[in-house]
Symmetry: C2
Subunit: 342 residues, 2 copies
């Protein structure tokens, strides 16, 4: 029992043409106010609902924006998605969410499916495997605007909405130094991802600024698997020396490390300072009282969507690519102190 009222029904009921009704419903300036009022009243009376599918076909686009993230259930992404949904909904857009699960092949399929569904635009946080951008260029060829968030990607003409990783890494490390730490371990992520590279550069820059020697063995890589974190903790113990601070640039490793220490029966010294990027789960581990301060995902989602919709609406005009850089909140284990930026 679909609602079967069409613009033709309205038209015949009012003894005018369907095209006028269509214009009125789209608030075209080319219809007299009097007629508009009459039409809107009638539409209301008959319970008219625009058939979005027909409109979509005709206009060859939809009011849907596509979102591709590596993994929906990661807290950063789910809060970004929340921000995206809120902004999109406000402006009358729907949001299709897909996860690449860090697979390039899946990401390719998703992009293809989104093109097939004629999304109005795409927000993408590329998978770890993505080093080739051919699939994204296809979007461009089809005139579908897209932009990157969280994970940086250099394609000319495309905007990025990012955390300032270098600065955040610098701040995190400096925070530890200013609190008296000199032996600072750094849990990093895959160096193929710019965000981890930049955080690591920030770490190094802070050490340099404060004349603390950079010790490569204190920097622990990870493929964002808990196993890697466990391995890292093991390595640190093997070094058999005092560590007085940790800058954890990814939460998965940090959790893995904690698991390892727990299993090995090693108690984390109360005076070991830990600074991590804001993220609800890791924040909860480190400092329960700070579990809710992280709004960076949400904020990034909102900004990215606003920017994308702006591009969608500006139609064919070339849009200046933009790199929006946000500050993130940091979480510190040294009790009530924490650095909250911006």
């Amino acid at each position: 029992m679909q609602n079967n009222v069409t613009i033709h029904d309205l038209a015949t009921a009012l003894n005018i043409d369907a095209s006028t009704v269509s214009r009125a419903l789209n608030d075209s300036p080319r219809v007299a106010q009097r007629t508009k009022d009459k039409i809107l009243a009638k539409a209301d009376e008959l319970g008219y609902q625009r058939n979005v599918l027909a409109s979509n076909l005709r206009k060859n686009t939809t009011n849907t924006i596509g979102v591709i993230v590596p993994r929906i259930s990661r807290h950063f992404f789910s809060s970004a998605i929340a921000g995206i949904e809120e902004t999109a909904f406000q402006l009358g857009y729907n949001v299709i969410i897909c996860q690449s699960l860090e697979s390039l092949e899946r990401e390719r399929n998703l992009v293809a499916s989104m093109m097939a569904n004629r999304v109005a635009g795409v927000l993408v946080s590329v998978s770890m495997e993505t080093t080739n951008y051919a699939h994204l260029q296809l979007l461009k060829k089809n005139g579908i605007p897209f932009l990157f968030f969280d994970r940086h990607c250099e394609i000319d003409g495309n905007s990025n909405v990012l955390i300032d990783d270098f600065q955040s890494g610098f701040d995190a490390t400096e925070h530890l130094i200013l609190n008296g730490c000199t032996q600072i371990a750094h849990f990093s992520g895959p160096q193929s991802l710019k965000i981890y590279e930049n955080r690591a550069r920030g770490y190094r820059a802070a050490l340099e600024k404060h004349h603390i020697s950079y010790q490569p063995e204190l920097v622990l890589q990870s493929r964002l698997m808990e196993e890697d974190g466990m391995e890292s903790a093991k390595k640190l113990l093997t070094l058999n020396r005092r560590i007085d601070g940790v800058f954890a640039a990814n939460d998965v490793s940090a959790i893995g490390a904690m698991k390892y220490l727990k299993k090995a029966g090693v108690k984390i010294p109360d005076d070991l300072a830990i600074v991590g990027f804001s993220n609800e789960p890791i924040a909860a581990v480190i400092e329960p009282s700070l579990t809710t301060i992280d709004q960076s995902g949400h904020e990034i989602g909102k900004r990215a969507t606003a920017l994308l919709l702006q591009q969608i609406k500006s139609e064919e005009q070339v849009v200046q690519p933009e790199t929006l850089v946000l500050k993130t909140a940091l979480i510190a284990r040294d009790s009530s102190k924490y650095v909250k930026k911006e």
Copy 2:
């Protein structure tokens, strides 16, 4: 530059009719295999891509399923969404995600928008304010199948996919009792939500089974706000008596309570046992080594989607409503012990 190859192009290229091409592409049994092969080859050659919008209009439906949750960034929901996306993607469906933010009005709008977009089906976890189901009945009138997950809702003809809350509440409480607790506080949620009512009933039943008197002052209500949890902790302290176990049926309260205790300078005794529903953030607070065992959201998402798609495909046939009940994992603070069900 859209790909402009249509079935007509294929048809003229092969000297057959467009309708045959259409049938072939839909793998209709009414086309000779030879012709199918020819058509598929040609389609491949010319890089044909079906225009989904036209197909949607003609069939008056889409390959999209709508999902309405109270809040995307809550861990349970984001993992449910991940499960939904995976199952849907596998079967060629897209997923539109929206959040009601616990508002009935917003939920109404979302349902309307989904109908307007002719989604193939809807999965909904109703908002806390939802006691009137008129908006959902509209879906039914429009022939759009829908079902409930996580939050139970009795509409005849509709299925539910749920956690067995009574049993889980019972198990959680009994677990504490079997570990020697007798003074067990219960952090509950809004009793208007069946899930909290049932968990509370489970709590009570376990006490009864073990002949422990039920003490109403140990049951703390909440509207799922951290403030309520803080209030609850305060109340417990005021009672000024020994509590040896806590069954936390909602994580928000638990986190609020922890914040309060921290602020008040009250250390949680090491021997206080805590059992909560599995949820990554709260699990991290209670027991870092158990942060990843929770799959219940994901599992519910997958099952709900499978059930919905089954209904979508069975078309007009009346489907027997089903209530799928899953077990949830429990997290216990008493170190390595935890109850993991099913």
